[in-house]
Subunit: 319 residues, 4 copies
Amino acid sequence: MKRVGILTSGGDAPGMNAAIRAVTRSAIYNSLEVIGFRRGYEGLLDGDVVPLSVSSVGGIIHRGGTMLRTARSERFIKPEGVREGLQRLKEYDIDALVVIGGDGSFRGAYDLHKLGFPVVGIPGTIDNDMAGTDCTIGFDTACNTALQCIEKLRDTASSHERLFLVEVMGRNAGFLALEAAVAAGAEHVLIPEVPFDMDALCKKLHYARERGKSHSLIIVAEGVMSASELQSRLKDTGGFDARIIVLGHIQRGGSPSSFDAVLASRLGGGAVDALLKGEFGTMVGRIAGQIVASPIQASWEDKKNLDSDMLALVDILGI
Amino acid sequence: MKRVGILTSGGDAPGMNAAIRAVTRSAIYNSLEVIGFRRGYEGLLDGDVVPLSVSSVGGIIHRGGTMLRTARSERFIKPEGVREGLQRLKEYDIDALVVIGGDGSFRGAYDLHKLGFPVVGIPGTIDNDMAGTDCTIGFDTACNTALQCIEKLRDTASSHERLFLVEVMGRNAGFLALEAAVAAGAEHVLIPEVPFDMDALCKKLHYARERGKSHSLIIVAEGVMSASELQSRLKDTGGFDARIIVLGHIQRGGSPSSFDAVLASRLGGGAVDALLKGEFGTMVGRIAGQIVASPIQASWEDKKNLDSDMLALVDILGI
Amino acid sequence: MKRVGILTSGGDAPGMNAAIRAVTRSAIYNSLEVIGFRRGYEGLLDGDVVPLSVSSVGGIIHRGGTMLRTARSERFIKPEGVREGLQRLKEYDIDALVVIGGDGSFRGAYDLHKLGFPVVGIPGTIDNDMAGTDCTIGFDTACNTALQCIEKLRDTASSHERLFLVEVMGRNAGFLALEAAVAAGAEHVLIPEVPFDMDALCKKLHYARERGKSHSLIIVAEGVMSASELQSRLKDTGGFDARIIVLGHIQRGGSPSSFDAVLASRLGGGAVDALLKGEFGTMVGRIAGQIVASPIQASWEDKKNLDSDMLALVDILGI
Amino acid sequence: MKRVGILTSGGDAPGMNAAIRAVTRSAIYNSLEVIGFRRGYEGLLDGDVVPLSVSSVGGIIHRGGTMLRTARSERFIKPEGVREGLQRLKEYDIDALVVIGGDGSFRGAYDLHKLGFPVVGIPGTIDNDMAGTDCTIGFDTACNTALQCIEKLRDTASSHERLFLVEVMGRNAGFLALEAAVAAGAEHVLIPEVPFDMDALCKKLHYARERGKSHSLIIVAEGVMSASELQSRLKDTGGFDARIIVLGHIQRGGSPSSFDAVLASRLGGGAVDALLKGEFGTMVGRIAGQIVASPIQASWEDKKNLDSDMLALVDILGI
């Protein structure tokens, strides 16, 4: 192996730059060359390349976003797109490809792997909805961003004695919503993994009001419903007057937390190790503190479970 | 003068607690007693009081929101409400009242003043839309909060090469939007003080796109239109596909910045000075570095102008 | 079991308040009463108590430090002190005690346990030097605080092309220094677990200088030597002119990160679970995502190892 | 005028990059070319130049430090150095020079001005010790950084009931120390503008202790003495046991606050305006909200006074 390609794909996540830096420097340390493709698979197909050196990844470890930019590629979903990508990789003399992204990005990498091309994935998404790793890169930073925003809302909520609904990201998973709810000491959390029960929620809110609780925070995962829909339904069903906030793309940006900068550095180093050991078609993850390579398709085929005690905690601690 | 009342009213703003602390300690330093009313004029009418001591305001200087809580009072807008409030102030042996809030809160204070009751106002609102002071308490913190959120969006905007619309608060004024736009290096800003020109905006966006600018940030003050309305109109008129974020109540919370903690401390001390000098019916503000008491009604009757060079700067620096 | 005592002891750590809140609310949820002792074992001996309710722990989840205050107790190290503490616990009708702190605090708890009194420990220290848990409460926040400070230094270091030495806490362990070094992308790290080699360090610094590297950051754990001693030795041995910064107690304060707020909440809930199950003489920790109770003495008797790949990463990524 | 040079000199300050961006883009907007000199006057003498374009200053507005790097130049202090610098400016066809820095940097600019070369200064230093502007670029950010650090110390100070001494920067001036002391609600502040009285300080500390005050913060400006010297003297004179923290270079780094990003943008624009109007030999400052050009030598010849009420506030509010 002489030359490694790298790209970031799908939604950006804090720590992607730290992972790019770690892959690049680990590869160079092991006498490999590194080529970056810009805008994910789009840049691979378009030949939008940039050679990466020790110094070109200097100073990026703390920057949000991704210096290689990212995109979702419609073309790469189709078999002919994948074959064209394989063609490009050969034209650029790339011997292996490192893909940083979520499960959509990994399906593309898996398609390349099935055509015999060496790939290794690094899980980068704030949603944390991937098996094979305890945490994905960006999840911890997004939790901290959500927490900091919610703390600010709490100031106003308690000053005005109000009910606030906070919509957080997470696609079809509730990891981010649940973590933010426990961290922020929210009174209620709605996540896709638990069937939504409007009556139970209204009962809890009425009960809290009777006990003199002057303000409440409800965290709602975008996978359940939008904050504005919940606002309407709370008004209609229970007569509750709530303010809403949609954290949105704020959760995707910012400097990576210490946790994410370290995770990204370790997984970046681990991805190069996996390449050198010939562990192709894998994703590197951190499981119980160890860097482990698992089959890349397990990242979406296996089910990742929420910590079982966390949901109960919201009810117990939000009293 | 022996006993001073204090309340916070209207929307909360970071630094209100620092002002409460400064009023309380300055008053006690000058051998006055201090009584707090909770939930603004509502608490005054309801007799919801709390005596304030040196230690009861310890440790609050950095807390967002207001320990006295706040509310908008429908009752106090009416003459009979004001008379009832005056009655309560006499029942509690209050000799003068300090009101921390925006222009709505000051109209209530002015009504008391016209009935002969000694009042002094401290301008506390993130909107900065009050004459008689270069800055209101909370404005600087809100600018920093908006800036930090926008910086995070910039990460994603530049990674995905997108157009983002950010709606910031400010009621009918553009101070917050304009400050945030210059601070964040936004490409465009829409404020109520400048007539909105859809064609001009679209032209600028097209021109930027032609020049290869991969992403743009537009800051829109809530007083112009909502971000979602602007999103629709940009789509309809110019075919632009924009993401939106509404910063909302996040801008109201958080620990006060150094600037706001100092401003609140100085204005709190200044309010007690004004009371001791018999400068009733005034608002204390900071003008060119000095603490100055002006007639309270000037705070909404006079026009506060935007810095003339700031608007031009957005165009010049956002190229 | 009807009444539970709780205290924080030793050095304070961010998240201790979140743990106090979680223990209190979980206990009350399970129909137990909760009594707090102020200033650690000192307050136990002095009978400095405060009953804790659902609302008295409201709003503390994000505050740094500990609402119960903390202290190191000389008296409680001696057998007669422990017996006196036991006496007090009986006087207050305490059926079990939850101790939040580091290994020194746990030795005291173990002494009570050996006298037959039910205790459960919650590991709270920024040093992370305790076995039986992947992370102690406060470690993640301290890493983030160190990272944020080091990032600011990096601005000046790169603007002035300088060598900076940063001394971080951690007592006799290098967890905090190593994590901060990887997170910050530091060029070198000195930790107590690795014998210090002055010649090797000077060689690396000379080599970096020859390669044109304009600035470098060295992280030194307080357990190795002080930054000022290292500064002198670098000057004497290699002629290097370095600036120093000692992060000091800044690392101990601040709002807990999302990770620490969640960890503290889970361990607080887990400590009450352990009490209810009769798992006395234990420490609750988080191992591979699960909340686990281990013998409390294992927290200092067992050896906790650094992640083996982290040290190598500093060399590989700091090139 | 066709081509403008720009350099940053002396200690770096947050917002210098925002000023570089504003000068560059304003100049280009006015059809001027912009050349940057790296490492201050050193780079001018060495011909270390970089052409600046609209895009080369993109994305730097929020970065700490200075992309042009900075240095103190021994050579440029001497007359022959200044003449050599003038020679270089002519070789590079530079028609005017913008210097961003403190008073040392401005003395160099003044020397060029006296030789007939057009210069304009932009005040950039965290010390705020320059007349002709209410605030220097970087001061507000440094105040916020100091405040955030001190807040963290306060957590530990109050948890452990301790006395903390915090040494802040400011050279021979007390602006930063005084602002931080009021913002942080410190109990005492020592600044160079006020003669130090050890007995008075000890009396205050004893009095606070008698009143049951469990912890105190003393802010000491580096221009008075070092924190460790004060620590020794407090021990020797009054028997006080204090912990110390030296904020050091942390105060120089970080992203500029909103205030500083706006100030830097306005002064950068103002500097180009001054050049176009032929106002050479000046420094642009912000006075009472207006951008004003004053003779550059006034920045160190005139005396800048502390706000008279601030010192009294520390005593009144720190009770």
